[in-house]
Symmetry: C2
Subunit: 308 residues, 2 copies
């Protein structure tokens, strides 16, 4: 299942409105098929893994990060039916599919066909791996990551506006990979006007994965953070700035994940990372975030905080 | 030697103008004496360890973090002579003593007496462990630690001034222990007027180790950061704020170590950690600091940066 979860990340940011699922098929202790949801949402992970496994799928164990779908679609048959037809012996599932067209029906159909199903394996990790799809299903909006790149004292630019570069090349490459894992980037109008040419993925081989760029603007279709709910085919949204746009998302409670790049420099006076959050007490600031990951990137450090 | 270095930290912030030395005496594979420079600077670490070892010092190996002193004092005999009189078989030394009254003479006297001396063991760690004494000797001023306690976005208070508490009880206890390891704390006049009652060590058993509090003020004896050179019996100085005082020390190049406590909160508008540093370019901010240690303290994180 851990391998299936790793595969699921290959589609992250490219499969909306479908979930980014991963699948591994094991026969006689060997991996005979691997799959992940393809860009645009099809083929599904199970279909890809079954195609790879061929006849070796008969009697094999299928590890899949999300309950196989039970609904036919014009774009392909239901994965539960594919697994039954392939004659797999057992299906291990991380979490159920909240899509009402499946929601338990996928597992039921497999069991009705005499296939053993073990659900709930690495469920928490799976919720993190498919957070975009699940947030869209549960809350009707994309999963939002706020990216900040600051000095140790929380500045994102000198008073002159100079901001290139706070962080070094390794941190910037990490941030570009992060862009490729979101269907869209959102910036405020000021950042758009300054940084427009640079909001793409500049990593060898991934240039084509530059996401859509959306602009929060009082004169556009995205006027307030809440408006992201209406975005089509966007289940992962990366908010890149500036300070007022970042603050607007934090104020609205619409940041699920904080991605904080920090360079080992002190700037003193300069532009702050966040505009006013309207806090009236320190108590109201506590308890909202917990550190979920951190690593060095050259001399910089990235920290990932999850919203509680 | 690692054990001797650990013992040396017991005296840190309490021994100026003497170095905080640690000493371990080992006979037949067993520790027979341990010592560290006592508050006020005497007895020396070697004297304490030899007293504990007694006759077992004969033929033993003495590990000491600094070259044993070669100069008699009204307050006690030279440690080199004590070691010779005790008949130790070998002396392992981390670094030489830059005090011109010793500076190589301690090792020479031991060797002249037929004792094997091995210098340079864990020398780099020893320079960190006795940084106060060494900074005073090399630069004629105390070793300066700047403490900051901020939100993730670098704020030290809300716009209202509310700053209790940014960090939690474990981080505050850590900061109080740090106070006990400096001969003096320095704050700006504004912080003095606001925080005066609380600049002490509030840890069980360590209340008596509250350091002197010094105030940087245009009307006092400490008017500029450079004035710390004249402080007597202060080899470790902790600068605790506020933002303008912190910035003055950074601008003057007088911060050797940055102690950064960070709470997992976002504050947005509020008081910044540092005043103006007068930087004219980002390039001039880079390359000054490197992360030397980090750990979680409850939900907070402390990072230690060393000046390059």
């Amino acid at each position: 299942m851990a391998a299936a979860l790793a595969l699921s990340q290959r589609g992250r940011g490219r499969t909306a409105p479908n979930p980014n699922v991963g699948c591994v098929i094991v026969a006689d202790g060997r991996v005979v098929g691997r799959g992940w949801t393809q860009p645009g949402g099809r083929p599904h992970a199970e279909a890809m893994a079954l195609a790879q496994a061929g006849d070796r799928a008969r009697g094999a164990t299928c590890y899949v990060t999300l309950e196989p779908c039970a609904h036919d679609s014009a774009r392909g048959p239901a994965c539960a039916d594919l697994l039954i037809a392939a004659g797999v012996g057992q299906v291990v599932v991380a979490i159920g599919d909240p899509d009402p067209r499946t929601d338990g029906l996928g597992i039921a159909r497999l069991r009705d066909a005499g296939i053993a199903v073990e659900p709930g394996v690495l469920a928490e990790q799976a919720r993190g791996a498919m957070a975009g799809f699940l947030t869209r299903r549960a809350q009707g909006r994309p999963f939002v990551t706020l990216k900040l790149a600051t000095s140790l004292d929380g500045r994102i630019a000198l008073p002159s506006g100079e901001s290139r570069w706070i962080t070094g090349p390794q941190a910037r490459a990490h941030a570009h990979l992060e862009r490729a894992r979101n269907e869209a980037i959102l910036v405020g109008r000021g950042t758009w006007e300054i940084d427009r040419p640079t909001l793409d993925v500049r990593l060898p081989g991934l240039e084509a994965r530059s996401p859509r760029v959306l602009v929060l603007s009082s004169s556009g279709t995205l006027r307030r953070p809440d408006d992201i709910a209406a975005l089509e085919n966007v289940d992962h949204l990366l908010v890149e700035g500036g300070a007022e746009t970042a603050a607007a998302f934090v104020r609205a409670g619409l940041v699920d994940r904080l991605l904080l790049y920090r360079a080992p420099i002190l700037l003193g006076a300069g532009k702050p990372a966040l505009g006013d959050l309207g806090l009236v007490s320190l108590a109201s600031a506590h308890g909202r975030w917990r550190l979920s990951d951190t690593q060095m990137l050259g001399s910089d450090r990235v920290e990932v905080y999850a919203a509680n």
